[in-house]
């Protein structure tokens, strides 16, 4: 199917074509109706003449001399002004009207009472129509004295013609009028249709112009939904919904980039200040080498930046689905013990409660991602717990074959109002990022990893305890 180059042009062309076709059909119908009406009228006139002439035809008495020649003498005078001819049954002309002169009309014997009509060319070369009628003429015979029924005279045959020049002219004028009107109407229709199409197209044009004004930095703009044709409303609504999603994505992306920039800028400043000072010291005091403290600090800054980049990359990979999930069967209790052993703290005690049944210890999921989740949850709990408080980890079976992992701690300063933002990248209760160990990305990473292994993660506050609950399903071996 050929795609239209312009909907407007296509619409214009279709409408124009349809209207012209309709007009042509209408014109033909009108022409035929008029033609039919004229023909019928002409035929009626011809029939009427034939009947009138037949009515007035008298047969002279049988014994009258020259009987054959006198037939039709009784015609009124007007007969002579018509084109008519009376034939005997044998086809011999009995009488010819004066208007016909030396010319003849066709002869037909009509057996019933019908009046056949034919088109002919009149003697003067113009078109005409001839009608035929066969009848028994009235007789002037006297009644026989024996009262016998007199025998029927022979039938006679009348041919009467009329010119149809006027009718033809009328039809020609009608045809010409319809054609001229058609041309004029075509031009008028073209402009009217064009105007109407342009008018109907205005909302689309307006939307296109509005859409063109939306720049990448103006994603908050929306197309107006009021006073729109019903055909465009769903399209505009969909477009606005798309813009909503696009804007949200842009804002999120911009915020994420801004946060990355922010997180990188501080250590960069630290590094620049550290090296700037070290160089100034070298220039002033001229020692042979930089003090080890400078190397240690520089190394610490680099490690921090490296960790930041690693976590950001991990989140980005998880978000874009590039983190491959390869399920294996393992005991999450052992993974938890491993994780805790690497994050032990003297100030904070970590307890593990395992409520799973013996023999039902394994789960099939991605162990690396699962370990990452545990590592971040436990590390987060250790970092943000009050001193000398305890962290409780609980392992259980959830609904179906799911594994339930719950970790609760006493947070330093998390309130109910913070729960909604807690897994937002870079969000920290203390926005100053004074603690170099915290990046504000741990729970965000947990969120992404949980999504990848189809687990549900929930953060809540219960009796001043911050509780993170993970419900991970078995992913199967494939």
């Amino acid at each position: 199917m050929k795609s239209p180059s312009s909907i407007r042009e296509e619409l214009l062309r279709s409408l124009f074509r349809s209207l012209i076709i309709l007009y042509a059909i209408g014109s033909i119908v009108i022409y035929l109706i008029v033609q039919e009406a004229i023909e019928r009228r002409t035929n009626e006139l011809l029939r009427s003449k034939l009947k009138d002439f037949a009515e007035d035809t008298r047969v002279p008495p049988d014994d009258s001399p020259g009987r054959e020649h006198e037939m039709g003498n009784v015609f009124h005078d007007f007969f002579d002004s018509e084109l008519g001819q009376l034939y005997s049954n044998s086809g011999t002309p009995l009488r010819t009207s004066l208007a016909l002169g030396e010319n003849s009309l066709p002869f037909r014997i009509v057996k019933d009472q019908s009046i056949p009509i034919e088109n002919i060319t009149l003697p003067n070369g113009k078109p005409g129509r001839v009608g035929f009628f066969s009848f028994y003429p009235k007789t002037h015979r006297r009644r026989p004295p024996d009262f016998r029924i007199p025998p029927l005279p022979d039938p006679v045959h009348l041919s009467v013609a009329i010119p149809i020049t006027d009718e033809r002219l009328t039809l020609r004028i009608l045809g010409l009028t319809l054609l001229c009107t058609g041309l004029l109407m075509g031009a008028a229709v073209y402009f009217i249709v064009r105007y109407q199409v342009e008018k109907s197209y205005q909302p689309v044009k307006k939307l296109v112009n509005l859409t063109n004004t939306i720049q990448p930095d103006q994603l908050s703009l929306r197309l107006p939904c009021n006073d729109l044709p019903e055909e465009l409303s769903p399209l505009v609504n969909q477009f606005n919904t798309l813009l909503d999603r696009l804007e949200t994505a842009f804002v999120r992306e911009r915020s994420f980039s801004g946060n990355i920039g922010h997180e990188i800028r501080t250590p960069l400043t630290e590094l620049a200040a550290l090296l700037g000072n070290a160089i100034a010291d070298l220039e002033e005091e001229n020692p042979e080498e930089l003090p080890s403290e400078v190397y240690r600090d520089a190394n610490q800054i680099c490690e921090h930046m490296n960790r930041l980049i690693e976590v950001i990359s991990a989140i980005h990979q998880a978000e874009s689905g590039r983190e491959l999930v390869s399920p294996t069967a393992f005991d999450p209790g052992e993974t938890l013990s491993d994780v805790i052993s690497t994050l032990s703290s003297d100030d904070i005690e970590i307890q593990i409660t395992d409520e799973r049944k013996a023999g039902d210890k394994t789960i099939t999921t991605d162990e690396t991602l699962f370990r990452g989740i545990l590592q971040n949850l436990v590390s987060n709990a250790v970092s943000h717990s009050e001193a000398d408080s305890a962290i409780v980890c609980r392992l259980d079976r959830g609904k179906g074959e799911t594994l339930l992992f719950e970790i609760s701690n006493t947070p330093q300063s998390i309130g109910p109002e913070d729960l909604a933002r807690i897994s937002e990248p870079f969000w920290q209760k203390d926005a100053s990022r004074t603690e170099r160990a915290n990046l504000g990305l741990g729970l965000s990473l947990v969120d992404k990893y949980a999504e990848l292994i189809q687990a549900e993660i929930d953060f809540s506050l219960k009796d001043k305890q911050f509780v993170a609950t993970l419900e991970a399903p078995n992913l199967g071996d494939d």
Binding site: R265, T266, T269, A273, G276, N277, D297, S432, T434
Partner: protein
């Protein structure tokens, strides 16, 4: 010149403070917003350098508080936030300058010098009183293009007096603007430093003299055009 620097990053605080001190500024530091706000409200600082994101009280709140208390110290905001909106917000709250991280120490020091100049109505980094010429950036003083050998403290006092030339500067003002909190100050330290500086100026042939105005303080002026009657 005395500076308050509020920064939560210990490493940055240490290195920037060191650079500022090297540039001849007396620097007090605070590691969080609460401590910074206390110092800002109680101390007398020529310039305050405030990080925006601080624990306890953020830099913008400190700025709003000190402007509310009608403290006219010049304020330089430091932030890793780069958007125009962030900068406009800081400047609208009364900051005199806004520096985005990462920055070079030279730029920070240059901006602090600029803020100082603006504060004391100076047109450039060189201030001249008679034959005496003081280069505020290079931390050097000259008489007839010959450098005078001054100890750091002597130069800092001379610098402050030069910046305030034409005005009598009290001992307490010198104390507040030249010495930081950590300075081990003896009771006659200012008098001794001024006496030494005066002597060095005189030996170098300077016509600028540090006069003692009884019960009021000190005044530096050119002998050829004294500005304040004793």
């Amino acid at each position: 010149m005395r500076i308050l620097y509020v920064e939560d990053s210990q490493l940055l605080r240490k290195n920037v403070t060191s650079a500022l001190k090297r540039a001849g500024f007396a620097v007090d530091t605070a590691a969080d917003g609460e401590e910074g706000l206390n110092l800002a409200l109680t101390g007398s600082y020529d310039v305050m350098i405030l990080d925006v994101m601080l624990p306890k009280v953020d830099g913008l709140t400190i700025l709003a508080q000190i402007r509310k208390a009608e403290i006219d110290s010049a304020v330089l905001m430091l932030s890793a936030r780069v958007t125009t909106a962030d900068r406009v917000q800081g400047l609208n709250l009364g900051a005199d300058d806004y520096l985005v991280k990462p920055f070079q120490l030279e730029e920070l020091i240059a901006r602090v010098h600029a803020l100082n100049r603006r504060r004391y109505g100076l047109n450039g980094n060189h201030v001249e009183i008679g034959k005496l010429s003081v280069d505020l950036n290079a931390q050097r003083a000259f008489v007839d293009e010959v450098e005078i050998s001054l100890r750091p403290r002597e130069f800092e006092i001379l610098q402050y007096l030069v910046c305030r030339s034409g005005s009598v500067v009290s001992r307490s003002e010198i104390l507040e603007h030249v010495y930081d909190q950590a300075a081990d100050l003896k009771s006659n330290a200012i008098d001794v430093a001024i006496c030494t500086a005066r002597k060095k100026l005189s030996e170098a042939g300077s016509d600028a003299n540090i006069r003692t105005i009884p019960r009021r303080g000190y005044l530096i002026e050119s002998e050829s055009s004294p500005s304040v009657a004793p």
